[in-house]
Symmetry: C2
Subunit: 468 residues, 2 copies
């Protein structure tokens, strides 16, 4: 299989598709990318508001791979921890790690996407076409049907392989599902909560209205508000709220007064920063929070799903983009194995990758519960404090679940999940049983946590819990 002779069709030029196009372009493939939206470098398609994302170590592996680490870094705003706003307006910061050099970043989706498109198009073997919406994929013939947004014409493209990076609503995944040509396992799971994006605008002088270098959280048990900084001095704020349960919910917040009353009651300090709240609230859509898993991702050696098209997750671990970028890194590693044919490549990629994307999907849901509720509970706060101290005192010997997932980019999500959950369980139980104590000797505590974590993992292994 000579790489240069292969025609690769990529559906979707979002973050994953444009990164993949760049990487495959660098490797010498003939790459054609079809994107349903207009070119975001020319048309403002985000309705005037920059939407930001969390960018961390796993995503950074990919930007390193394609040689864009420094350029991407210049788009990043470091967030060293969570700034928690309690119901009384008090704030306290909870760092993401006890190691100073570990933090996450806020980055603009649009800016990053534009950078990747620019870099991909520098390769003459990469061509990107906008306003071409994929309607369906014939995975047996390796062809895709598109509709041109402007001319309304439909046309078919074929290729040696098709990779769909067309996001959570993937047209190719729909073709897998509706085609019924093979057994396609599939799930879409919605939380009872939806989300809505709001904003905290900059001060008149362009400064940030609240502390810049943190991910702000207003946890309120069954609902939550968060805010991430943008380079222009604003924050993108996201409200997570039930559709139909509780005193205030998306279905019953129908008037200006009710929205203001709700924020006054739940988030008075945030409301003070958001004179534009009511406008934002009624102009911006309410969107669902869904998890998508499926299998197989590939059909023979013809077609492959990647990124959100294969595994969409809820945003609570800040890992959505990072997981999709890591997909490209893992796929690139499989290409390096020179397996000889696309079916072997796709199969190997899915076999090594799927367990990890399943894990981050589950972890993201765990974190939904942790962020809106647990961060307020004493035992979880004690655990967090202890873990910060352990990471600070023993930087090479301890990493919390959050650190394993976010900063230990050399282990997979599944390993991070299993070890991280066992550690959490060990610490919570030893705190509860008074076997360790927040003021105890740290070396002693580290030893006990490690012992207990291993015991928990071993007990689960004996009970056969990791066999599948």
């Amino acid at each position: 299989m000579k790489e240069k002779q292969q025609n690769v069709l990529i559906i979707g030029a979002g973050l994953c598709g444009s990164l993949l196009a760049l990487r495959l372009g660098q490797r010498g493939y003939n790459v054609s990318v079809y994107e349903m939206r207009p070119d975001l470098r020319k048309v403002d398609i985000s309705a005037g508001r920059s939407i930001n994302l969390a960018f961390s170590n796993r995503g950074n592996k990919a930007t390193k791979l394609v040689g864009l680490e420094d350029k991407v870094k210049s788009l990043c705003i470091p967030m060293t921890g969570r700034m928690i706003h309690d119901a009384h307006g008090n704030t306290f910061q909870s760092n993401y790690s006890g190691r100073d050099y570990e933090y996450i970043n806020s980055i603009s989706r649009g800016e990053l996407n534009a950078l990747l498109l620019d870099e991909a198009e520098k390769h003459k073997n990469v061509n990107i076409y906008f306003n071409k919406k994929c309607k369906s994929v014939d995975f047996e013939k390796t062809t895709a049907l598109f509709k041109d947004h402007n001319t309304k014409d439909e046309f078919v493209e074929d290729a040696d392989i098709i990779i769909a990076t067309d996001g959570a609503g993937s047209a190719m995944r729909k073709s897998y599902y509706l085609g019924k040509k093979f057994l396609f396992s599939f799930s879409q799971d919605y939380l009872t909560h939806g989300y809505k994006e709001l904003s905290i605008l900059p001060k008149e002088n362009g400064d940030y209205k609240t502390y810049k270098n943190a991910l702000h959280i207003w946890p309120r048990g069954n609902l939550m508000l968060i805010a991430l900084p943008n380079l222009d001095g604003s924050f993108t704020v996201t409200l997570f709220l039930s559709y139909d349960e509780g005193k205030y919910n998306f279905n019953n917040l129908t008037t200006d007064n009710r929205v203001l009353e709700f924020f006054q009651e739940a988030f008075p300090d945030a409301l003070a920063l958001m004179p534009n709240l009511v406008n934002d609230f009624f102009e911006n859509p309410t969107a669902p929070l869904g998890t998508i898993k499926c299998s197989p991702w590939h059909y023979k050696g013809n077609t492959l799903l990647m990124g959100d098209a294969a595994h969409a997750i809820v945003p609570f671990y800040g890992q959505g983009m990072n997981a999709s970028f890591e997909d490209v890194v893992e796929f690139d590693k499989v290409l390096d194995q020179n397996l000889g044919d696309w079916e072997a490549i796709f199969k190997t990629y899915e076999n090594t990758r799927k367990k990890d994307t399943d894990a981050i999907a589950d972890l993201a849901i765990d974190n939904f519960h942790e962020m809106k509720g647990h961060v307020n509970q004493v035992i979880f706060q004690e655990k967090r404090k202890l873990e910060m101290a352990l990471e600070k005192e023993f930087p090479n010997d301890y990493s919390s679940k959050y650190s394993l997932v976010t900063f230990k980019e050399d282990i997979g999500y599944r390993e991070a999940m299993l070890r991280g959950r066992a550690q959490d369980k060990a610490i919570l139980n030893m705190l509860s049983d008074k076997k360790i104590d927040i003021n105890g000797n740290l070396k002693d505590i580290l030893y006990k946590v490690k012992q207990e974590t291993e015991a928990i993992l071993e007990d689960d292994r004996i009970a056969g819990l990791y066999q599948r």
Copy 2:
């Protein structure tokens, strides 16, 4: 809401639909049932072979509820345990319970369904229509579109409520999914294995060719054969095998010789009882093993999914029909609460029931791994032996996971799963750590198992594992 004035439309006259029709008929509703197949009492639709199912305590709650306990019992063949056939042709029996009065039954799907249809039709307020296939449901208008198999005419029926009991391929569930009128969580998960039904015919004198009162299993690690007795002296045999992995799989068993060679190698003692093997093998279809979960089951107070339409499971716990029958019992209990409107009834039913049907789906997959693999492992065999002894010695104080699921019909599947898994983990770990011993004092062992089980449940509770 006067029960007698309510028109209930049921889609599907399988086991769940005909039981539900009977019960709602008994309660006085006007019930119309539409079934896509012909009347199985008049037309032989099972291609000449009776297919049997496992019937146990939870199913029996439903037959008691409708007053058919004795009639159903006359269709049952008790199976007191698993008869395990090892690779050398040795057999040993492993009872389902240490209590003699706890066993499961083999029952003919067709005979049971016919009985339920007969009983339902005795009520003049119940009408059953055959050869009417549901194409879709308009859940906003509470109408269903049908096609008559004979005349090919399409027609619309409306009702006060529609309950779909149309099985794993439910047309109404498809309407929920495709309608996109509300957030519909849905999953279909296939195992890598499929199944094929085969048979052991009676001896010429009508006797059974092997022991009648057991569920026969030939576990072979990654594949398995099972057999359940029929009243006519035959056994229905089911082969569970990977589609495409291992030396022998469904995709490569394409010739008479290969099938015979496979059985000669894997199941020589079964082969000796199956001179008709090759015929059966190539005449009968290979079918997938899927799990279906979804939510919500109901749309407002208009429509409701029940039975396999709401929660199809793999057959390895013998609970598919039992779970669907228990649905009817639970629904009946909610009707007794006189909640006043259908939306409240449907919501209450789903809230109380879904956690349990989710649990039996997961348990059934656990048992797939246990049946084909674990039953051959020493530590699992020791656990089983110990649990039999505990159940025998302390009949009121101990129940294995299997017994909790199968025979303790007064607790829900979820409680059975949580307690059963914790017990399994406790026993396996204590055996492994030599804290208990198969020859130890039973009273002592019971005490330790209970202590350890409680500790495991408590540790999980503290770690927040049961909150969601």
